[in-house]
């Protein structure tokens, strides 16, 4: 009995700790006046409207979305053929590329950010908006690489053999068996990269911080020039996007498996 109560209490404490800052930010975001007070005074959703109405916030939102959409696409475009090759072929030396794909995620982000900063500065392309998409694509390639490797590992090789006994060549097997089976993993990998790119600050800041304002950069800049409830609204908006995306993966995919609950 006491065990159950203690366990519940433990879960509640962790949940409270995780939620508390978000609750306060959510409270702040519905203040009626342009003050950061909690508990909120009055109630207004106008600060959420500001994200779309205010031209600067809107521009930042669009930049962030464009960046996240293209960066996640680049990450998947790198990860898919690599994961497929590693699954299809026996080539131990090719694992070096897997290592390269995972490295940016393991190392402190400031290192990748600075590496890309020196690279774009040296190549004379510093500040071009598309450099951020490539930078994020490389930075987050780990996520689709991990989900896709899991996906490939979960394919029973007998399925591929069965297809070939029925007359399917390598390409047909890829199209009719392999791709449909790893599609959920591909979508999850894309979604992970998308959400993280949306939230990423340091790499974006170091590569295009002076020419493009993404939402995290905009929030950071706003932090220095004074708080507004819009920042709180944007933060809650981001939490909601992440929760929706991961919630969908949890609903339609097997998030426990993606996080290594089985095999691995």
């Amino acid at each position: 009995m006491t065990g159950t109560i203690l366990r519940r209490l433990g879960f509640f404490a962790v949940a409270l700790f995780m939620a508390l800052p978000l609750i306060v930010v959510a409270g702040v975001s519905v203040n009626e006046k342009q003050d950061l007070t909690f508990p909120p005074v009055g109630f207004s959703l106008s600060w959420y409207g500001q994200i779309f109405a205010d031209p600067e916030w809107r521009r930042a939102l669009i930049s962030s979305l464009l960046l996240a959409v293209s960066a996640a696409a680049i990450a998947v475009a790198i990860a898919l053929p690599l994961a497929w090759f590693l699954w299809r072929r026996i080539a131990p030396w090719a694992n070096i590329f897997q290592l390269l794909g995972v490295a940016p995620f393991i190392l402190p982000p400031v290192i990748t950010a600075l590496g890309l900063l020196t690279f774009w500065a040296t190549s004379g392309l510093y500040g071009q908006p598309w450099t951020a998409a490539i930078s994020h694509g490389i930075f987050f390639v780990t996520l689709p690489l991990v989900t896709l490797s899991l996906g490939f590992a979960s394919i029973d090789r007998a399925l591929v053999e069965a297809a070939s006994t029925m007359g399917a060549d390598d390409r047909t097997v890829l199209r009719t068996v392999v791709l449909p089976l790893i599609l959920p993993y591909l979508v999850s990998g894309y979604a992970f990269a998308f959400v993280l790119s949306l939230n990423e600050y340091i790499v974006a800041y170091m590569t295009v911080g002076f020419t493009v304002e993404t939402l995290p950069i905009k929030i950071f800049n706003a932090l220095r020039y004074g708080y507004t409830p819009t920042m709180a609204a944007v933060s809650i908006f981001f939490v909601a996007i992440a929760a929706i995306v991961f919630g969908l993966i949890g609903r339609f995919g097997d998030i426990r498996k993606l996080l290594g609950a089985m095999g691995g």
Partner: protein
């Protein structure tokens, strides 16, 4: 020549000969069972026939044409895998029509063929079901239907029944054999279950350590096993040491067995006698005497374990011919000479 011919095929994995110089010819329309313990090379041989493994040496011919180097997807054999390998992302109908779909057959033709095959395996109306919703036996039938979609020249099955429970397995064996006879298709099944092989096969190929130990009709394999390995693997048997005495008669456990002789020039050999051929009588009535150590009454049959001179002989009788003995009784063991088979040890 019509049919499949395997000519001195060898498959080496590193230093290990999985399949060692195997030759076999399978006439058109024959049902073959590759039988043996795990690791005997039977699955590797089947995979080489399917083109999923490349032989290290030797050739495989189909109707006289060398297909050794032909890739799997150009062989067009039907194959059922041990895991069944049904595509989880496709419905039953789409699984069966897969071979037609990738060849660009029109939709209605795909559907017609799928329905036809589903009827053949007694699953009419299952086309739109998801594979995940099927029972073990239904999955089995779908896998068989899928492999037959292109009316292949060769039908290959790798331990197809291993996932089924014992009862279902027996009825599927009968069904598969009937299906094969109706279609007249050359069929090769890999199994480690000798009952399965006896039920279905025209030709049983017993393999051990990468080699063919005996290839013959089931009853011949049972009655005349070529060596001790085959005798022991097919059914249960009493393997007894025999030697020739000065008069040339065979003696088993020190006693001469009337009417049994070893091949000339052979001083020592193994003799196999099936438990159902061993009879028990009063002490002194048989070749040797022994003591009953255990009686296993299984209802349909009764197994009696008799210890004689350090060797246990098993006798199987039906309840009708029951010999009333209990553990500790002295009995005479009768070994009819016509049932004793001399085998290479």
């Amino acid at each position: 020549m019509s049919g499949l011919a395997i000519q001195s095929v060898t498959k080496r994995f590193g230093d290990f000969n999985a399949v060692d110089d195997v030759s076999l010819s399978v006439p058109h329309g024959t049902f073959v069972c590759l039988l043996g313990p795990s690791g005997c090379g039977k699955t590797t041989l089947l995979r080489m026939i399917a083109g999923l493994e490349e032989p290290t040496a030797g050739a495989i011919l189909l109707d006289g044409a060398d297909i050794t180097g032909v890739p799997t997807h150009k062989r067009s054999f039907g194959m059922v895998f041990q895991s069944l390998a049904l595509f989880p992302h496709l419905s039953v109908g789409d699984n069966i029509a897969y071979a037609l779909r990738i060849r660009g057959a029109p939709k209605d033709e795909q559907k017609k063929r799928a329905d036809e095959l589903l009827k053949l395996v007694h699953l009419p109306g299952f086309a739109d079901r998801p594979v995940a919703k099927l029972s073990g036996g239904q999955r089995q039938r779908v896998a068989i239907a899928r492999a037959l979609a292109l009316s292949p020249k060769l039908f290959l099955l790798d331990e197809p029944m291993s996932a089924l429970d014992a009862k279902l397995r027996e009825s599927m064996q009968v069904e598969l054999r009937q299906l094969q006879q109706r279609l007249g298709i050359t069929t090769i099944v890999v199994t480690h279950d000798q009952r399965e092989a006896m039920t279905m096969a025209d030709l049983v190929v017993v393999m051990g350590e990468g080699r063919i130990r005996q290839a013959a009709a089931p009853i011949e394999i049972y009655r005349k096993p070529a060596d001790a390995f085959v005798a022991d693997f097919i059914g249960s048997t009493n393997l007894l040491q025999a030697s020739a005495d000065s008069a040339g008669r065979a003696t088993i456990l020190g006693s001469a067995v009337a009417g049994l002789a070893l091949p000339s020039g052979v001083a020592k050999a193994s003799v196999s006698i099936r438990p159902e051929d061993v009879r028990l009588g009063a002490p002194g009535s048989g070749a040797v005497d022994g003591t009953v150590t255990f009686v296993r009454d299984l209802g349909a049959t009764i197994e009696t374990y008799v210890e004689t001179a350090g060797t246990t002989i098993v006798a199987v009788t039906t309840p009708r011919e029951r010999v009333d003995v209990a553990a500790g009784d002295k009995v005479g063991v009768i070994l009819p000479a016509e049932s004793c088979v001399v085998v290479k040890s």
